[in-house]
Symmetry: D2
Subunit: 361 residues, 4 copies
């Protein structure tokens, strides 16, 4: 009941620090018979890898994923799938200067408080490298949802710092998201965002933003009241990602100002199917998917690692000055897009299986 | 693995619909030896009960809580505690007019899609009456946190519709929250909020708002990376409450515009203890409590039940007109304050026990 | 993560001590649409109730079960079902003489060690009254298995003390089991067993025995390797019942002397279906049901409460003499038959749902 | 909720088939600060490896364990530990002759029924190679129990076929167990057992037996009633091991013939501590450890793979003759000893942490 597992029926358990042998994930509960290749998983990993563009950290990491079990003759067998990427060899001494320092807004202090010790190499388990395991597992969930159920998960950058894109989420395509390095489907806004990130980077600083995710073709019925409401599990999934500070679904925080007579989504008949005229709910009613698009927004704060001089404490309570030596992401958003995708896919996949267990017939 | 349980070590399982025999909760995992009385639990329930003021629904419900097991000689025994409130007798026929109608933004449609049937009396399991069980269980968690650990959980209404209070959350007291019927510690803003709710009520409409919660004196070390980060479980807890649409912790959505050099919270020495100068993080670093105040905001949409005429569909796909007969809450916020309190207390309590299991010594 | 829940998808959580308000159980995860009546549940409870015959304790208890939630118009709704039986009012003082005594082979000592306190009235949570909740929940599982899937669960007494019945388990019917008060389908052996129990009872002593359980028509495919093998969950279920000391499936302990060439069950074609010629496996291969009868045996030790004088210690480490005042079961076996039935049904039901979640199509 | 995880707070999740990339295990929930080396884990693995003696399969496997995460500077960090052993390269074609055959008493048939496909190479996930992961994880639990708590877990072979050893379990030492290749502490009986296994081996057959396990110095208080009784989790652990058919604790099946007045273990004072005079209970009362030795027996059937000609069916329902080509274990007992050790250690470790979470102070 330590916290490295996520999901109940499509359950993943991740492991691995920034350094050490490997980062990995066991997926326990993937249905048998799904065709999956290393390349399909690698595709998603390449979207999150460092060094993919001028606005991500130029740091080089090993991202090659290995399927170690659970797949035979190109298909899942129903047994647990181990996916793994080896870490690059690196001397621990390279991190000696960070051994005793509590970097501001990093987890150095809290890990030490919790565990009485910490792996200080590259943030250890708190490193964003951990999301590699999520994306790898999510790639299989995404494949299943798309192939078997026609469910599409698309995330994109909606805001960087103060620059916002106003995009009708129901029209966004995966190709549009991949059409520029910031992963914002509006190319004009994307240019402005990129320019901002470059400025921030050149200033040795960092900046946050918002990722929006839309999930299409989810059948009505997913979600398990009262605690495992679909939006509750989505919220947990998103707030479990490094650097996230907020989650809102449907009308979200802005919706609190709308009166019920406006916010209520009237049921209407459309092509013989029951739909809602508006979708302020964001695709969930009473914690259960309604069949409408599920959409939500996730707030990411600025990355904690910056190149500017900072004042902080060390483990001996001394005041120290800190200047990050490593190369960091000025803005985590473009690389976080596949992570949001992955976590969303994992939630939907898990709830699909849970609902199936109880379904009639 | 249906979704009626919450928590791992301080685990609650709730049951009960709006109608039927009772609403209840089993708490499995409460440490032995805690003194608890029926009155202490009832106090929290009275804060959520209908009819407590002119701006809540005048509907009368039975809220008397009964301790059915797990307490002996006024103390918890370590065995499961069943808390229960009987439902009032009510004729099912009173709800016949809603039997076949999909009320807009209610869960009628999705429950039917999921279960193939539904208890249409007073929204069944999707009724806000279900939160009674949460508040009852939360009262025990709150008591434990306060008594044994000195941890204080305080929620209050920060916004109703467009009316916002600007209150330094670290100064708010429980007495201030209870000093007016809207549960906003700023009495001037509270008056404006109450006036707005009355207008909305008189118009047969409803309105949403934001509840802020602050948790003080949480020791550093609570939270289980990487998925059961403290904020992730708080987010899930909040999004599992009826009518919630958003959650943000610390700097939240506004924080995405702050640069890292500003957002980072420097570590400083204060009275010999390691603290942070600012607390944009909201009391969590890397998913683990830092010892600073934990604070977060929860968005509640307007209540779905309104008295205005609405157009919708029935189960036979006919367009029908709907006017709610029942008496509803024009604004759920004041009654939701103890629910946010309860869920927050349950999360902290659970993580306290989880951390204790792994602690050194 | 205290231990009052059992099952993953058909999950039960029980509560209640021998005294206090009530004994109850929440079933979370019962599929919607199952017809169930109070009478059907009560039927199973009446099989476990005290005072049902001359060889059970004449103690009178309240066994009337109440359906408090989750059932509407005679059908399950898919929401959690609370079943509850009130405890009889009894003065705590009646138990004052046991307040400080550690009764031999009772849980008085270990509960005190674990919880630092204990509810000493009628063994508290360690009372066999707790099995009432299991039988109530099991009655619903049994009904579902029988009605929806044609699966039959039949337990019976195979041995009391040294008296054994040799019965081909595949022929036993529920009526035969109920044809005598000891619940052994062989009426001659049953008479001998009853005589033995009467002797033991008149001697103020107690005696153990073995219950055999056979489960028919389980489809091939239930069981989740590698840890949640079907037999592993059955073993856990059985060893969680008061007074059980052993479990064996198929050939069991006797089978260890058989060579592989004899023990292996050859696959054969029977009426166009794949079957095994023998069934030493007991209906499971690799932890998964094979479609053959599942059968296993459960060892129950003699009841700890006896009327003979015993020497023991009290909480102050003094040697004391103990003579039980209460009326006890000289042999728990006949009343334990429905408990074994219930736990077996709960395991099969849970694994049926788990397998369904992953099934193709 | 597929079944590859075991434990709640010291939770392991295993993966890997007989062939494919690797067999592995993630341990999530190991307390930080435990010193552990690759060699300590390897020691236990060497006790289960093939080819260790003349009476085990001469088949060569790769058993070298790699610590891939969760250990830093020789100590556990509190983060998940991935242990992994690579599989040897082997051509799938070597198993083509088994592709379509249902080997008697193997899991070929049930895996196909469950998953609609199967990895037929070397029994796939149903291979005993899977126990490698258990032993690796168990080695860490054993180390923790021994080092931090002084708890000792010792298993040994008590019976092979019809040959039984009568050994006072409280006197057995680890050295005695390792003093001969059958792992029976009585050297005379061991010789007879070895001779029997050699006969069986030369006859191309297989034979079963019984392993006894004793756990010493477990503090009173471990076990979580009512379902997660300590013996219930031990029973599940044991019945989850390949080829096991039975479990009994304390007096077990033989004890059913004992009257209560004999079976009851009187409490006595010994060196100022509360002990029991006898220990028919096997160290558990009401599902909670009493402080006395925990001891139990596990029945293993004969190995399914034999060299004799067998008749069976193939996937097309044809009758076929089968002669095993591979080299098999004539008796799994000596290699199963470390597996029983491991599973016992995992159960105690898990319950130690669970009890710690709720403990006073």
């Amino acid at each position: 009941m330590s916290g490295s597992s996520f999901g109940k029926l499509f359950k993943i358990t991740t492991c691995g620090e920034s350094h050490g042998g490997a980062v990995g994930v066991i997926i326990d509960g993937c249905p048998a018979g799904l065709e999956i290749t290393q390349e399909e998983i690698q595709y998603e990993l390449d979207r999150r890898k460092p060094g993919q563009s001028a606005i991500t950290t130029p740091r080089s990491e090993n991202d090659t994923i290995h399927i170690m079990s659970g797949v035979f003759d190109g298909k899942t067998t129903g047994t647990p799938i181990l996916l793994m990427a080896y870490n690059k060899d690196q001397r621990s001494e390279d991190y000696d200067h960070l051994k005793n320092v509590f970097r501001p807004s990093h987890a150095d202090f809290t890990y030490l408080m919790k565990y009485g010790m910490r792996d200080y190499r590259g943030s250890g388990r708190a490193s964003a490298r951990e999301t590699l395991a999520r994306v790898a597992a999510g790639a299989i969930a995404k494949k299943y949802l798309q192939r078997e159920l026609g469910i599409e998960v698309i995330s994109y950058v909606e805001q960087v710092g103060g620059i916002k894109a106003y995009i009708p989420h129901h029209l966004v395509t995966a190709d549009q998201v991949e059409s520029n390095i910031i992963r914002c489907p509006d190319s004009d806004v994307a240019d402005a965002m990129i320019k901002l990130v470059e400025e921030v980077r050149d200033d040795g600083d960092s900046i946050g933003g918002v990722i929006k995710c839309v999930i299409r073709n989810v059948p009505a019925g997913l979600g398990e009241p009262v605690f495992d409401r679909l939006q509750a599990d989505l919220a947990k999934a998103m707030l479990s990602i490094n650097a996230t500070k907020g989650f809102e679904i449907g009308s979200g925080f802005a919706g609190v100002e709308m009166r019920g007579s406006v916010h209520n989504d009237p049921f209407v008949l459309e092509d013989g199917a029951i739909r809602t005229l508006t979708n302020y709910a964001g695709g969930v009613l009473g914690g259960i998917s309604s069949g409408e698009d599920i959409y939500f927004r996730v707030a990411f704060k600025s990355v904690s690692t910056i190149s500017k001089l900072q004042h902080t404490l060390d483990v001996d309570y001394n005041q120290v000055e800190l200047i990050a030596h490593g190369r960091h992401d000025p803005c985590v958003l473009p690389r976080a897009v596949p992570v949001v995708d992955a976590m969303a896919a994992l939630v939907i996949m898990d709830h699909y299986l849970r609902n199936k267990a109880y379904a009639q017939g």
